[in-house]
C-alpha cells in the first residue's frame, strides 16, 4: 500500500500552502494518506525536504518526536518519529522569535546531542551513540502544526516534518559523562512558574535510546547521521502552548539553561 505521485504532490502542496498562508489545513489522513501508512507519510516529508534543499536550505540534523509512551498511546503507535532540522529553524538563546511565523506554537525542553562521528550503522548500540557524541546542549524545541487544531494522527505529523518549527540551543557544551541522562531533572519556566517538569527517563527511558533509534532508522533510510549533526532527542516533559509575548526558560540538571522569547501578536 502506497500513495501515487499525484496524491503525494497534493499533500506537499497543502502543507506548503498552510505554512505560506499561515492558515492550518485539515488533516491529511484518510483524504490523502491512508491511516497508518507511515511509509507514505515519510515519502511526503522526504519530498518536502528535497524541495527545501533545492531552494538552498541547509540540513543541520534531525529531531525525534513521540518519545513519550503516553503520547505514543494517544497516536496509537509504538515507536517514535523523526523530522529534519534546517539551519534557518535555529534561533539564538534568548533572542526574540516572531510568534506569527509559527502555526499553533508550543514549546518543550530537550537534550540536544551534537555528533562528533558518523553513525552509519543499521544496528546501533548505546555504546555507538556514546562514542559518536561530541557534546550535549540544553535545548528548547518550538513545535508547530500545519494541521488545524493539532488534530494529528501519526501520518499527519510524519508528513508535516514531525510537527517541527524552530529550535533554540544553549551555549555551554557539556560532556556526556557529566550528565545523568536518565535522572536529570527538567523544568520549563514561564515568569518563574514551572509550566512543565520532567526527567530524562521520560524520553524513551533515556535520551540515548532515542538517538540510537534515530541512528538506525536514518541509516536504514539511506540518510545516516553524520558528524556535526544536531539531534533534538525528544521532550523531557509535556509540551506547553506558547503565550505571545512570553519568555520560556528551560533548565536541565547538569546541562544548564536556555531561553526563548516570543514577540507579541503585533510582531
Amino acid at each position: 500500500m502506497s500513495i501515487g505521485k499525484e496524491t503525494l504532490g497534493e499533500a506537499v502542496r497543502l502543507l506548503r500552502e498552510a505554512q505560506e498562508t499561515r492558515t492550518p489545513c485539515a488533516p491529511l489522513r484518510e483524504r490523502l494518506l491512508p491511516a497508518g501508512d507511515v511509509a507514505s507519510a515519510y515519502a511526503v516529508q522526504r519530498a518536502m525536504t528535497e524541495q527545501a534543499v533545492a531552494a538552498g536550505r541547509r540540513i543541520v540534523g534531525a529531531k525525534i518526536g513521540l518519545t513519550n509512551p503516553a503520547v505514543q498511546r494517544q497516536l496509537g503507535v509504538d515507536q517514535p518519529d523523526f523530522g529534519v532540522l534546517f539551519a534557518d529553524m535555529a534561533a539564538f538563546d534568548g533572542a526574540e522569535v516572531d510568534v506569527t511565523r509559527i502555526l499553533q506554537p508550543k514549546v518543550e525542553a530537550e537534550v540536544a546531542f551534537v555528533l562528533g562521528r558518523d553513525l552509519p550503522y543499521e544496528q546501533v548500540t548505546v555504546a555507538d551513540v556514546v562514542r559518536a557524541t561530541d557534546h550535549l546542549l540544553p535545548a528548547i524545541e518550538i513545535v508547530g502544526s500545519r494541521i488545524a487544531n493539532w488534530d494529528i494522527s501519526i501520518v499527519d505529523t510524519v508528513a508535516d516534518n514531525a510537527s517541527s518549527a524552530m529550535f533554540v540551543l544553549g551555549n555551554r557544551p557539556v560532556a556526556l559523562p557529566d550528565v545523568d541522562l536518565r535522572l536529570c531533572g527538567m523544568v520549563l519556566e514561564h515568569e518563574g512558574e514551572p509550566v512543565s517538569v520532567g526527567a530524562g527517563a521520560a524520553c524513551l527511558g533515556n535520551p540515548l535510546h532515542a538517538v540510537a533509534w534515530l541512528a538506525q532508522t536514518m541509516a536504514a533510510a539511506g540518510t545516516p547521521l553524520r558528524a556535526g549533526d544536531v539531534i533534538l532527542s525528544g521532550a523531557l516533559g509535556p509540551m506547553v502552548p506558547v503565550t505571545p509575548g512570553a519568555v520560556y526558560e528551560a533548565r536541565i540538571s547538569g546541562l544548564g539553561s536556555v531561553r526563548t522569547r516570543f514577540s507579541g501578536l503585533a510582531g
Partner: protein
C-alpha cells in the same frame, strides 16, 4: 455536627478502611474549621499512644492541584504509626483506595534543614471516590496515610531541579522534577512553617517534613514493588503484600 464529632467520623473511616461521604455535603465547614477537625482527629491518635513525628505538605504542584481540583497549598500531620521502613512491606488491608507518589523529605534540625531523603507518600482519601473540597481534604489530614523515608543525605547546594522517577515493578510510571514542588522544595518548608504557625503548631527539630509530590499519584496494587528515585539523593521503596 461538632468539630469532635467530625473528627470521630474521619478517624473511624480510617480505622475501618471504609469511605464516607464528604463532610461538606451535609455540614458547614470552612478551612479554619477543617484544620480544627484535623487537630482533633490527630489528638485521638495521640491518645491511643501514637507520636507526632512531622508534617506533610499537599497540593504543592500544578499537576496535583489539577488532579484534585483544589488550588491552595495544604498541610497535614505525620505520626509514627504512619511510617513504613525503607524497603519494608505494606499491607493494603488498612486502606480504602491508596495511591503513592514520590517526594522529597527534609529532616528538620535546630537551624533549618539537617538532611534530605527520597520519600514515598501513600495517600488514601477517607472520602468516597477520592472526591473532596478544600475543607474536606484538610479535615481528613490531607489524605495522609503512610510514608517511607529513604536514607538521609547531607543537603546538597541546590535541590530545585532534581529528577524524580516513580517506578512500579521496575518500570518508570512517572517522571518529574523537584521543581514541581513550588518551583523549589525549600519554598514548601517556608510555606509550611508559616501555615502551621497560623494554626498554633511550631515545627520541631527532629521532625520529618514531606515537601510535596514531584509527580502525579498512582494507585497502589497488591504485590507491587514501588520505588522513588531522586537524582543524586537516592531511593526509597516499599513492597505491597499480595
Amino acid at each position: 455536627m461538632s468539630i469532635s464529632e467530625m473528627a470521630v467520623l474521619l478517624d473511624d473511616a480510617a480505622v475501618d478502611a471504609t469511605a464516607i461521604p464528604q463532610l461538606t455535603l451535609s455540614h458547614e465547614l470552612d478551612v479554619d474549621g477543617a484544620y480544627a477537625v484535623q487537630e482533633a482527629l490527630i489528638a485521638r491518635r495521640l491518645d491511643r499512644g501514637q507520636r507526632l513525628v512531622g508534617v506533610k505538605m499537599g497540593l504543592t504542584s500544578r499537576a496535583k492541584m489539577a488532579q484534585v481540583g483544589v488550588h491552595e497549598v495544604i498541610w497535614g500531620r505525620l505520626t509514627d504509626a504512619m511510617a513504613v521502613p525503607d524497603g519494608g512491606e505494606l499491607s493494603l488491608d488498612g486502606f480504602i483506595h491508596p495511591r503513592v507518589e514520590p517526594e522529597i523529605a527534609f529532616l528538620l534540625g535546630e537551624n533549618g534543614i539537617a538532611a534530605v531523603a527520597p520519600a514515598l507518600e501513600i495517600i488514601d482519601s477517607r472520602y468516597a471516590d477520592f472526591q473532596f473540597t478544600h475543607p474536606d481534604v484538610v479535615a481528613d489530614n490531607t489524605s495522609g496515610a503512610a510514608f517511607v523515608i529513604g536514607a538521609w543525605q547531607p543537603m546538597p547546594a541546590g535541590v530545585d531541579n532534581l529528577g524524580v522517577l516513580l517506578e512500579v515493578d521496575g518500570k518508570v510510571v512517572q517522571a518529574g522534577s523537584t521543581a514541581a514542588i513550588l518551583g523549589d522544595p525549600r519554598r514548601a518548608l517556608t510555606e509550611g512553617r508559616a501555615l502551621t504557625a497560623r494554626h498554633g503548631l511550631a515545627l520541631e527539630p527532629g521532625w520529618v517534613f514531606l515537601a510535596g509530590a514531584a509527580t502525579a499519584a498512582v494507585p497502589l496494587t497488591p504485590g507491587a514493588h514501588v520505588r522513588a528515585v531522586v537524582e543524586t539523593i537516592g531511593t526509597a521503596s516499599l513492597k505491597v503484600s499480595r
